[in-house]
């Protein structure tokens, strides 16, 4: 059982790490306050690439 659990937990951890790196590269931490407000917008414009 342990042989399965430890690799799975490490694997999940690595997936989390990779996701963090992706979000860092995609510039998602540039404007945290703004992101919090933008979800409330009503218009249908997609995200502008800047």
């Amino acid at each position: 059982m342990l042989w399965l659990l430890i690799p799975i937990s490490l694997g999940l951890g690595i997936v989390g790490l990779a996701t963090f790196f992706w979000s860092l590269r995609a510039g998602q931490y540039e404007d945290l306050d703004g992101a919090a407000e933008r979800i409330l917008f009503d218009d249908d414009e997609g995200p502008t690439q800047l």
Binding site: L10, L17, F20, F21, G34, F41, T48, L50
Partner: protein, 737 residues
């Protein structure tokens, strides 16, 4: 192209797709509604590709097409009610070191957490085979993690060793590598203790400190570029044959005759041969009230010709002119500034030798006592790890990050951590007058004026660059003005317009009326067919809260002084009105710098508050400097702090935060030292197991961080009512770039 447009073009950056990018700081952005409004309005402008608001840094980034000309961004934002300032975009490359630090931090965090999870089960009593298994897994996680995250420390330590010195990274690297090596050896020999978690946690905490410290480090910035922008690229030089040829500024020699149009900057120091105009000499005196110039007047390079064409003769080459001298003063001041050694750097000098000696001595001591090499190495490694500079590495940057956040919540942007340290050391505050103690914009004095007269004056003034005309044109009153058939500007005199057969003049009293008015105060006169209609007087309003701010600074025990380029009479009046005892007037930029150096020679450390027009070198030369956001480009670049809100209360507030921060840094250092004094004997005595090491490191780091957070809770009751929502955790983006 108006002044704003010219600045926009120069401050913008070309992009790969042919568009240009401009960044504006808009302090008034406060909520989601602002984002939507601003983005929608700016995107609707003709030349704009798109606009994006960054709420965290209160900036707007606009991509626009150069072919359609610089868009009227300032005007569009002003129409919405937002004041905008150009942000110097050129140097902002993506910070590679910060990105590398954050990636290393993420990997170290992942590794530390997973290894710690395995270690907890070992500490809870895992049996021999399970313990060995977990040790091996920990080693497998630790090896790549150490290789990736430790690079920063190993590289720095290696660089230092190659020079024959040790820095803080040398004991860290030695400790981490020895700990890992020894743990690997122990794992192979089925020993109960392995220090994988200690070594990776050490890196994790250190990387937190390192990342925060990097965010607070001064980025290479020079305000000299901003001054350079005030230089004309070239001028129309009249040759012997009478033809005017466009000549680069660098090729102008004394004696050349130059045609200077209205709206151009004087390229080199020159004398007027012919023509009449008004000049904006703010670069020299800080005053935006124009100075009249006629034949024989001496002009300085960099001043702006406002109203009429002039023919001038060059008196000096470009690099001997006034502007070049300002640039040289700035460069000298900036190079002198970099010698300041921050508290953290001074502390780290002591660290390495002390720790190395302690580890070596304990190794030798135990070898002598027991002859057991393994035990002696274990204890030496434990000493290296337990004296880890986690607390030291976090002590200063943590406080500075929290302080920066607090300042930012009040609209004060800090350039780097050493600025905070320097601010806490001052004993004198020097103020510039125009644009700093005052708002720097002429405001129509409240007086009973017929609204129709005001509307006529506004219509006439709309076509002129003269500050008084602009102030009048900005008044939108209920009055009506007749439609003017022709409006023309008489340089140096005023505006003239014809409507309904009457000749209206707005300008100097002698010209409009034919005679001077009895009370000679600064202002303009509106006349119809030579008969007096109305007189407009202007004031330069003192900044809101100036008196209270100055009182607060005086209460804090600081000496106050006004250093201004304006005439002694007006400076004296203002200084007396605000209760500032000491003042210096009619100071040229070089004289302001000399004054600061004289103060420094007497052992005083001065805070310079100026708007950068004629005190840019002084801002760079002072021990620490602040500037309002309305200041010139140069000022915002040269100063350590920029306060976005118009009130002067930012200054005493920043000072109180700096003093509180210094106190907390000292406490943090004390905590770190006490921790080491307690931990060291425990390590030398051999009581440090991996569990103890992990607890000690985490405990000391958390203690230091918690102490730093006390800066937030201080004087919370004094925050003025609509404070910007200060975020809960320090963010990377908010440090002033």
């Amino acid at each position: 192209m108006n002044r704003h447009g010219e600045d926009l073009l120069l401050a913008s950056r070309p992009l790969a797709n042919g568009l240009r990018q401009t960044s504006l700081t808009v302090p008034g952005i406060s909520c989601g509604g602002c984002i939507a409004k601003i983005e929608r309005t700016l995107a609707a402008l003709p030349a704009v590709g798109h606009a994006r608001v960054n709420l965290s840094t209160k900036r707007v980034t606009v991509h626009w097409r150069p072919a359609d000309g610089p868009p009227p961004l300032h005007e569009a934002l002003a129409a919405l009610g937002y004041e905008a300032h150009l942000h110097e975009d050129g140097e902002e490359r993506p910070d590679a070191t910060l990105a590398a630090l954050i990636r290393a931090l993420a990997v170290a965090g992942f590794a530390a957490m997973n290894i710690m999870g395995l270690s907890v089960s070992i500490w809870s009593g895992a049996a021999a085979e399970t313990r060995d298994l977990f040790h091996w897994i920990s080693a497998a996680i630790a090896l790549p993690a150490l290789a990736y995250c430790g690079r920063i420390f190993f590289a720095s330590a290696w660089r230092s060793l190659r020079r024959g010195q040790t820095n803080m990274d040398v004991p860290i690297s030695i400790g981490v590598l020895l700990a890992f090596g020894m743990s690997l050896y122990d794992t192979l020999h089925h020993q109960p203790h392995a220090y994988f978690d200690a070594s990776i946690s050490l890196l994790f905490f250190l990387l937190i400190g390192r990342t925060l410290d990097h965010m607070m480090r001064e980025r290479a910035r020079t305000a000299v570029k901003g001054l350079g922008r005030l230089a004309a690229f070239g001028a129309m030089v009249v040759g012997e044959d009478g033809a005017a040829v466009y000549t680069p500024t660098g090729e102008i020699v004394p004696g050349m005759t130059i045609l200077l149009a209205a709206g151009e900057r004087v390229p080199v120091d020159a004398t007027v041969l012919a023509g009449v105009s008004d000049l904006d000499c703010a670069l020299m005196t800080g005053e935006s009230a124009p100075v009249a110039a006629a034949a024989g007047a001496v002009l300085r390079a960099g001043t702006l010709n406002l109203t009429g064409p002039l023919t001038i003769r060059a008196d000096a080459a470009a690099d001997e002119s006034f502007l070049a001298e300002m640039v040289r003063l700035m460069e000298a001041a900036e190079s002198g500034r970099s010698g300041y050694r921050r508290i953290a750097d001074r502390a780290s000098r002591l660290y390495a030798p002390v720790v190395h000696s302690a580890a070596l001595l304990s190794f030798l001591g135990w070898m002598a006592a027991t002859g057991d090499v393994h035990r002696a190495i274990t204890i030496a490694v434990a000493v290296l790890i337990i004296t880890c500079p986690c607390a030291l590495g976090l002590a200063v940057p943590m406080v500075q990050v929290v302080a920066a956040q607090r300042l930012y919540g009040r609209g004060i942007m800090m350039k780097d951590g050493s600025a905070l340290e320097r601010l806490s050391e001052i004993d004198t505050v020097l103020f510039d007058k125009t644009g700093t103690l005052t708002l720097g914009k002429p405001i129509l004095r409240a007086q009973a004026i017929d609204p129709d007269h005001l509307a006529i004056a506004a219509a006439l003034g709309a076509r002129s660059r003269h500050p008084y005309s602009r102030a009048l044109a900005a008044m939108h009153g209920p009055g009506t003005a007749p439609a003017f058939e022709a409006i023309g500007e008489q340089p140096g005199l005023g505006m003239e317009g014809v409507a309904d057969g009457a000749v209206w003049r707005l300008g100097r009293d002698e010209w409009a009326l034919g005679h001077a008015l009895p009370d000679a105060e600064a202002g303009t006169v509106l006349a119809r067919d030579g008969r007096f209609v109305a007189a407009f007087r202007f004031d330069d309003d003192v900044r809101p809260g100036a008196r209270e701010a100055l009182a607060a600074l005086r209460a804090a025990g600081l000496a106050l002084e006004v250093v201004s380029g304006d005439r002694a009479a007006s400076v004296g009046r203002l200084a007396a009105g605000l209760g500032i005892p000491a003042m210096q007037a009619a100071m040229l930029p070089g004289e302001k710098t000399a004054h600061i150096q004289a103060l420094a020679a007497r052992g005083h450390k001065a805070l310079m508050v100026g708007d950068g027009l004629n005190d840019a070198p002084a801002l760079a030369a002072a021990h620490v400097s602040m500037t309002p956001a309305s200041a010139a480009d140069v000022g915002r670049q040269a100063a350590d702090f920029v306060f976005l809100r118009p009130g002067l209360d930012a200054i005493p507030f920043a000072y109180s935060v700096a003093v509180a921060a210094r106190r907390l840094v000292r406490q943090n250092f004390a905590l770190a030292v006490v921790y080491n004094l307690v931990a060291l004997p425990i390590a030398i005595a051999g009581f440090v197991t991996p569990l103890v090491a992990a607890l000690a490191m985490s405990g000391s780091s958390i203690l230091v961080v918690a102490n730093a957070l006390r800066l937030r809770g201080r004087a919370r009751g004094n925050e003025p009512a609509p404070a910007d929502a200060a975020p809960a955790a320090p963010r990377l983006a908010m440090i002033a770039g």
